[in-house]
Amino acid sequence: MPEHSVEVLRGTLDLLILKSVSWGPTHGYAVARWIEQATDDVLRIEEGSLYPALHRLETRGWISAEWGLSENNRRAKYYTLTAKGRAQLRVETVTWTRFAYAVFAALEAPPQPT
């Protein structure tokens, strides 16, 4: 387990969840695993907050939930991105990218002339 994992910013978690369920029905554990792997374990999510976040997104209608059987025959709750969620994902991706570029740009900027 890497030592310096970053606390996921609030709001960023929603975006990551939306992204992780965008390929098809996904259960909570797979969401957690995908975030770890996709970010090379840099982003370590607080698992206790993952599930309320999933339920919040479900309540908002961005993802829908369905019970199904997992690969090892356990009863698991699968989440799917809804049309509304897909639109939201698109918006937030753009916003986040712009935000990140802005921060980068600021950090790379030459020292302020005095």
């Binding site: 909570g28 698992e47 206790g48 339920h55 090892n72």
Partner: protein, 897 residues
């Protein structure tokens, strides 16, 4: 290791995606167990921990250690769990609500589809609802505007108009109160709180050529307080402005102020010409201030009611309103006021009190068509009832046809409540659409009524703006429709549906048959009554149109001008001279007013041979005319001759045949004298008048009668500030050429009015014609609804008796006898209904008697045509069900559906 995990997850997605896109329907039912939410959350979290444990153990951790680390990573489980449960419950509520609306939508969609499947049935039902409810809304709006709405004064229930009744010809008219008596009332009457005089006037406002004709209410300083109103801006009149020589002031009404002065506050203090005199605008009164008994239109301005010498002497009357003290009955007040008025006469005039009974009337009760409107309201309420009955009928008839469908669905497991809900939804949908259509019907109805209203019923033009009445009635009507639907649905669904399926509908008991028969009889009776009423009025209006006028109204036009008394003679000469130049002009003559706009003088005549001793005064129509008036109007003198130069000085008059006969029943009137025994020196005909000629009776309007006593005086004897040119005019556009003529002679403040005499006379029967039109429309509606009702009940009976008819046919009954069987049923019901309706008409037409003008209430024309028409319609309504009955195939019917 990580890569492997990812692959496994991806594979899991691909296998489950196919069978999970569509949620299984049974899942919805899991919602009934509320604990499900908490358990689901627990399951979800447990699954996560177990997967983690698997993951850690696969990496080589011990089972205990793996569980510990996995749980630790989850952090504050309880907080997460409770948040998830809260969110779950929120979603649950939403889902239930969505389910309800989804169910409703399904039902509505189903209802719409099943209504669309029976377009004929649906159209008839919608028509019934829309017409029934729309008609009710229309009439109640009218009744509300004309009868219910009281003057918006403080203590409105105690406000009465004080008037006196006097006979003019055969009719009774109301006249005002002597001004002197009002003063006495104000000081001495103990039964009233307040009394206010008021008057009505009209005249030009402004200076030429921009003068406009305005309606003025004449009021005194106490009027605003009486009406509970305050000036919007400015002030009320002060007492100086009420004095004959005082400063002249006017108030504007709000609507006139906004229309004419754009609501500018600068108008206060401005000086305008009214009636040829400069007046200062001192204030604006609110639009809500209404004045009862205003004949044609609302007041534009208010002017002070300045007492004239004639008013002081008791000759001129004013209108008056009183407010009774709380707890005082109108009868007690009438008695006290009458006594005081009689005493005031003796004190002021030392003459005979006028034996004209005082009447206190509610302002909203002054309409002649009041009773007719009350009758209409009653009729339309019944009509709505008929419409409701019809809808219930239609639903029942449909219920019979659909009983099988319902029975099958019931047998297949649909719950009874579900079926009822379905039926109620269906009738609700029907009622909603019908209600929406009804609003359109009502709106159109009001528009039409407003368009054809007689000028007198000015209040009607405000009806169509009163949208809340329309919406409230529509809501009530929809509720009405819902209740009917519910009743019919319960009736359909409460039957033993199992029995229907087992033995077929022919064997189900024929409950409600008598009720249905009664409903149909009621419908037919009601529409008969309405139809007879309408026919009576049609007969009356037809007769009125052919009233002999007593003069020739052919191509007769009148152009009236305002003028001054000193200028009148010269102006008259100018009019004659210029009138001769109008293209197509025939003969012309002059009078003070148009023939239908003359005033009535109250007098009790005596002759030297027969002195009057306290006779009741009667109304006498007074004409001031030029000498050639009679020959031009086509009124050949019965005896004597017309005026000459000296007639005015010698007090010579011509009288109508009716007055001559009244004063000298036994012989010739020429050369005899008469005078008015009532009133002081200012009263009309106070000096002896000599009769120099007798002319035929002529009418002032079509609803009065030609036997009204009339007196003709020389034109110059009048103190009225008006003159009218009467002219016969042919040609393409007589009104246009008269307009040009009027413009060529118009002078300051003359305000010319052009009218066709015949058309103006026709205006007098506007009220009976108005009621006739409404009643005719409702009668037509009633007949239509009755036909629908009859059709419904006979169709229902045919549907129920299909098997019986089949058996009869199998046993040799001919199609003719089957047709007779069915039509006979309908005719029996219709005949009873028509008989009851004719009896009802004989009683109910009392309410429209005042509008019949001589047509008998049991007019055989109206009763006969009404009965025949309804009978024919009833037979027509039976034709379609009869054809259905004769088309029954006995083989199929008997085999048992």
């Amino acid at each position: 290791m990580d890569a492997l995990c990812l692959r496994r997850v991806r594979r899991a997605r691909s296998t489950t995606a196919a069978d999970m896109t569509q949620p299984p329907a049974w899942r919805r039912y899991l919602r009934f167990w509320r604990s499900n939410i908490a358990e689901d959350v627990d399951d979800e979290l447990r699954f996560h921990v177990e997967m983690r444990i698997d993951e850690y153990m696969a990496r080589g951790m011990a089972a205990d250690e793996a569980r510990r680390v996995a749980t630790a990573r989850l952090g504050d489980v309880d907080a997460a769990r409770s948040e998830c449960i809260t969110l779950g419950e929120l979603r649950e509520t939403h889902a239930r609500r969505a389910d309800f609306f989804e169910g409703l939508r399904t039902d509505v969609r189903f209802a719409l589809r099943s209504l669309a499947n029976a377009p004929g049935w649906t159209a008839v039902a919608l028509l019934t609802i829309a017409l029934g409810i729309g008609a009710t809304t229309t009439v109640f709006s009218v009744v509300d505007a004309l009868l219910v709405r009281t003057v918006p004064y403080p203590g409105a229930s105690r406000v009465f108009l004080a008037r006196r009744e006097v006979s003019v010809g055969r009719e009774n008219e109301f006249v005002g109160i002597p001004y002197a008596a009002l003063r006495e009332w104000r000081e001495n009457a103990r039964t009233i709180d307040a009394v206010v005089p008021f008057g009505l006037d009209a005249g030009p406002l402004g200076t030429d050529p921009d003068a406009i004709r305005v309606n003025a209410a004449l009021i005194d300083t106490s009027f605003l307080a009486f009406a509970g109103a305050h000036p919007l801006i400015g002030r009320n009149f002060d007492s100086d402005e009420m004095l004959p020589g005082g400063p002249r002031a006017i108030l504007l009404t709000e609507q006139f102020w906004r229309r004419q002065y754009n609501g500018s506050p600068d108008v206060i203090g401005r000086v305008v010409q009214f009636d040829g005199r400069p007046r200062t605008i001192v204030g604006v009164v609110p639009a809500s201030l209404s004045i009862p008994d205003f004949r044609a239109e609302r007041a534009d301005i208010m002017a002070p009611l300045v007492p004239t010498p004639a008013m002081d002497s008791g000759v001129a009357m004013v209108r008056a309103m009183v407010r009774l003290k709380p707890g005082v009955s109108p009868d007690a007040a009438t008695e006290e006021l009458d006594t005081i008025m009689a005493r005031a006469h003796i004190v002021n005039n030392s003459m005979n009190p006028m034996p004209m009974p005082l009447r206190l009337t509610r302002p909203q009760d002054t309409l002649k068509i009041r009773q007719a409107l009350v009758m209409l309201a009653g009729a339309v309420a019944l009509l709505l009832l008929v419409a409701c009955m019809n809808i219930a009928h239609l639903l029942l008839a449909r219920g019979a046809a659909r009983r099988r469908e319902l029975a099958v669905r019931y047998a297949l497991g649909a719950r009874r409540s579900r079926l009822v809900r379905q039926l109620v939804t269906e009738s609700a949908v029907l009622a909603m659409i019908g209600g929406a259509l009804a609003v359109v019907v009502a709106w159109t109805g009001l528009k039409v009524l407003t368009a054809v209203r007689p000028a007198k019923l000015f209040a009607l033009s405000y009806v169509s703006t009163n949208r809340d009445i329309v919406s409230i009635t529509a809501v009530l009507a929809i509720a009405c429709g819902l209740v009917i639907g519910l009743l019919a649905a319960l009736r359909t669904a409460h039957r033993d549906l199992g029995t229907v399926l087992r033995v077929g509908e022919a064997s189900t008991p024929r409950t409600g048959r008598h009720l249905r028969a009664l409903l149909v009889i009621g419908e037919v009776a009601l529409s008969t009554t309405l139809l007879v009423g309408a026919l009576l009025l049609i007969h009356a209006v037809f007769d009125l149109q052919r009233t002999p006028l007593g003069f020739n109204a052919r191509d007769l036009y009148a152009v009236s001008f305002r003028t001054t008394i000193s200028e009148r003679t010269a102006f008259g000469a100018l009019l004659r001279e210029r009138a001769a130049r109008i293209p197509g002009a025939g003969r012309a003559t002059l009078a003070v007013t148009t023939p239908n706009n003359n005033f009535v003088a109250l007098s009790a005549f005596e002759t030297p041979e027969r002195p009057s001793i306290g006779d009741a005064p009667r109304g006498n129509v007074v004409y001031f005319v030029a000498p050639d008036y009679f020959s031009m109007m086509g009124m050949p003198l019965i005896a004597g001759h017309t005026f000459d130069e000296g007639s005015l000085a010698r007090n010579e008059v011509l009288v109508s045949h009716s007055l001559a006969h009244q004063l000298w029943p036994e012989g010739l009137a020429i050369g005899h004298r008469f005078r008015n025994a009532m009133g002081g020196p200012l009263s009309p005909f106070h000096t002896w008048q000599t009769v120099i000629g007798v002319v035929p009776n002529a009418v002032r309007d079509l609803v009065g009668d030609a036997t009204e006593p009339a007196i003709y005086q020389p034109l110059d004897g009048s103190d009225a500030r008006s003159i009218a040119l009467l002219i016969r005019l042919q040609g393409k556009e007589p009104v246009e050429s008269l307009k040009q003529f009027a413009a060529s002679v118009q002078r300051s403040g003359s305000m010319p009015v052009i009218e066709n005499v015949r058309e103006e006379l026709d205006q007098s029967m506007a009220e009976p014609r108005f009621i006739m039109r409404i009643l005719a429309a409702f009668a037509a509606l009633g007949v239509l609804l009755a036909a629908i009702g009859l059709f419904g009940v006979i169709s229902y009976s045919v549907a129920q008796r299909t098997r019986e008819i089949g058996v009869r046919m199998a046993l040799g009954a001919t199609r003719g006898s089957i047709a007779g069987l069915i039509v006979g049923d309908g005719i029996r019901l219709a005949l009873i209904g028509i008989a009851v309706g004719l009896l009802g008409a004989a009683a109910a037409t009392r309410l429209i008697q005042s509008l019949l003008y001589g047509v008998s209430r049991i007019d055989p024309f109206a009763f006969g045509i009404g009965a025949i028409l309804l009978f024919a319609v009833s037979i027509a309504a039976c034709v379609v069900p009869m054809l259905r009955a004769t088309g029954v195939d006995p083989a199929i019917a008997v085999r048992g559906e």
